[in-house]
Amino acid sequence: MAKVLVVTSGKGGVGKTTSTAALGAALAQGGQSVVVVDFDVGLRNLDLVMGAERRVVFDLINVVQGVAKLPQALIRDKRLENLWLLPASQTRDKDALTDEGVGRVIAELRSRFDWILCDSPAGIERGATLAMRFADEAVIVTNPEVSSVRDSDRIIGMLDSKTVRAERGERVEKHVLITRYDPARAARGEMLNIDDILEILATPLIGIIPESQDVLKASNVGTPVTLNNAESAPARAYIDAARRLMGEEVAMVVPAERKGFMNRLLGRRAA
């Protein structure tokens, strides 16, 4: 059974697109057939993070409006043959997307793929509500920071009221993905800790992605971080999160502070 998963957050810049690309690639590496769909009409970036920016011919709006057929707009990943991208339009605006049109495209994608990952735009307006509209599951990308947690709370409220599932009285299965987690700052009490975030949002955790240079390096070269350096800490965290999405039991690893030599010498406690 195909699953539609929206990657959303409310707040911008928290890592939705990076996470969509990384989770999509990790699911595909796990043998699933996956399509990542960019809903950020007018500000598309998933193509760039996936390294497919020069291969875009048709986009989601063309398919919604019947200008192109779905197979014409789908771009196959060069590294993984079971990973596909449906890009957003860069020139049109979000008003070109209709509820009914998006529903039709999602239904067609459901018949072709195991996973449909919808990369939501920031905000709580039309683009974001359409990205979540047909979702079965949601990954709420949250930074350990007050404004991000507040916006995540708002988005969780919308997932519980504005989706097709919610309207039918069913649940959208929600997961919190914490990104840009800095263990050293968390240990010093400068950053909201994970238990606090989960308690406030009352939503289960799917993964903790540590702040890392590897994420930027991967997007620089247009490769999902799970493909670019599968051994890096963020890649391992994304791969674990993807395995949890597939229903596997994987122990949660809280990124730990790598103590510097001086700190260890002085026996400084990280409390």
Binding site: V146, R150, A186, E190, I200
Partner: protein, 98 residues
């Protein structure tokens, strides 16, 4: 109290406990607000409709407020009625009869 304790354990200038407390208070407020906005609009409209049957009202002078307390909440309905509402009422009745 709990905040001070956490501060003690969290180090000299741990700001995370402050962030948590601020968020908890804010979100408790916002969640209530979002859930209720529809209820208040409905209440306001229906109260306005009922009272307007008998008294001529300026719709902008009907204010419905909900104050949330710990164990009880109060619903405050403030309706400003013009002094000559009897004449206005007669006018409404004439209109309805004719």
């Amino acid at each position: 109290m709990s905040m001070n304790l956490l501060r003690l354990f969290g180090g000299r200038n741990a700001s995370a406990p402050v962030a948590r407390e601020r968020l908890q208070i804010l979100l408790a407020h916002e969640r209530g607000l979002l859930g209720q906005s529809d209820l208040l609009v409905t209440l306001r409209e229906e109260i306005l409709a009922v009272v307007s049957k008998h008294v001529a009202l300026d719709p902008d002078k009907v204010i419905v407020k909900l104050e949330r307390g710990k164990s009880v909440s109060t619903l405050e309905v403030d309706i400003e009625v013009p002094n000559d509402f009897d004449k206005a009422k007669a006018a409404i009745q004439r209109r309805m009869a004719g």
